[in-house]
Symmetry: C2
Subunit: 215 residues, 2 copies
Amino acid sequence: MKIERDLKNLPHKTIERLSQYRRALLICHEQGQTHIYSHEIAKIQHITAVQVRRDLMLIGYSGTLRKGYNVKDLIDLIGEIIDSKRGINVAIIGIGNLGRALINYFVGKRSHLEIVASFDINPDKIGNIMSGVPCYSIDELADKIHELHIEVAIMTVPADFATQTADALVAAGIKGILNYTPKPVNVPETIYLEEYDMITSLEKVAFYVKIQDLN
Amino acid sequence: MKIERDLKNLPHKTIERLSQYRRALLICHEQGQTHIYSHEIAKIQHITAVQVRRDLMLIGYSGTLRKGYNVKDLIDLIGEIIDSKRGINVAIIGIGNLGRALINYFVGKRSHLEIVASFDINPDKIGNIMSGVPCYSIDELADKIHELHIEVAIMTVPADFATQTADALVAAGIKGILNYTPKPVNVPETIYLEEYDMITSLEKVAFYVKIQDLN
DNA sequence: ATAACAATGTGAAATAAATAACAATTTATT
DNA sequence: AATAAATTGTTATTTATTTCACATTGTTAT
């Protein structure tokens, strides 16, 4: 009960960084590294060592002086914080290039997050299995979401289908949506929505390149 | 000279939102809408009307009372702020699913950002043209970056190639990098680097879905 | 032993970003 | 003409996030 309250108070940015720390730590662990200093983690993530220490403080982890943090312990603790014990099933909506990229990229990467289904409108794709992920007709969306206990959906449909796809997901009882279409969608407040648009990122890079030249 | 200083002082978040406002405004403009209120823009972007007005205040745009903002004028002004007058050439490094998704998605979308080349290591892909974008060997990276005046690169190579790709881009004189590999890369401070990792976003969604259940 | 060093942990301060509050003003209505 | 309503523009405030400063404490070298 204490922990639940703490989790809710973790800054959003800290959540993001914890995920990134873990990814870096997993690589260190694979390579046999047992301990790591805050400034080493910081360097990998292009942030400051203080930032790392503060994040770890927030999740109640203590390192040892002069040896730093225990890589394995920290990986496990971050898992306890950000992972769901029961695991979470994920679906990808829209099997275009981006949908395929996500499937290839995610499958097998995180044990607590499993991509259990994909959906498309194209008959040529329906029925296929890609990296172990079956593709169903979008008509089966609601049924499969219930049947397979899918809680999170990643939207990779064309922009013109974004709204109706989001509506269908909401109606089917999805709990979280990651929207990669360039069209913002509206969902009830009870559903967690994360939107990311690649054009915005590219335009941002271009902007900072541009103003550098103005020096 | 006044403007140059102002541009540098615009909050990063405002830059991102300006890009998003424009995208929404372009759709409105296509549909023949001539004016728009701050609260309408806000609703599309899931933010507050005050936030919109503040962003527009920062770029020195004034709307008209009771009619709101002129869609066309605002599109043009945002372009003056975030676009480079000369246009910026972009390359995609790595023609996997994600690279292809980006090409399909970007081509023709923004006049000031042109994808002029892609690069890959696979001989089957080299020499192909996709949506008008030629694919060159990664060996030609430096040459083509100079020849085609490429200033921004989007990295969509496998994680294991991230470091060497970034190093090659830096050596070739790139000015900005958008890194979509899951591996953070190091570049000199003079180069603008934006990194985005899809696993982090998915884990974040999963986290907030998880803690909602703890209520 | 003791001093010097190098790391963590954390309260305080600074910075960045979002929100609240409200004055000003145009338009529509009576 | 006066009033009401709706919208912008902007200062002040609040909230969120990062950084600073430094106390603490193992470890190593002398």
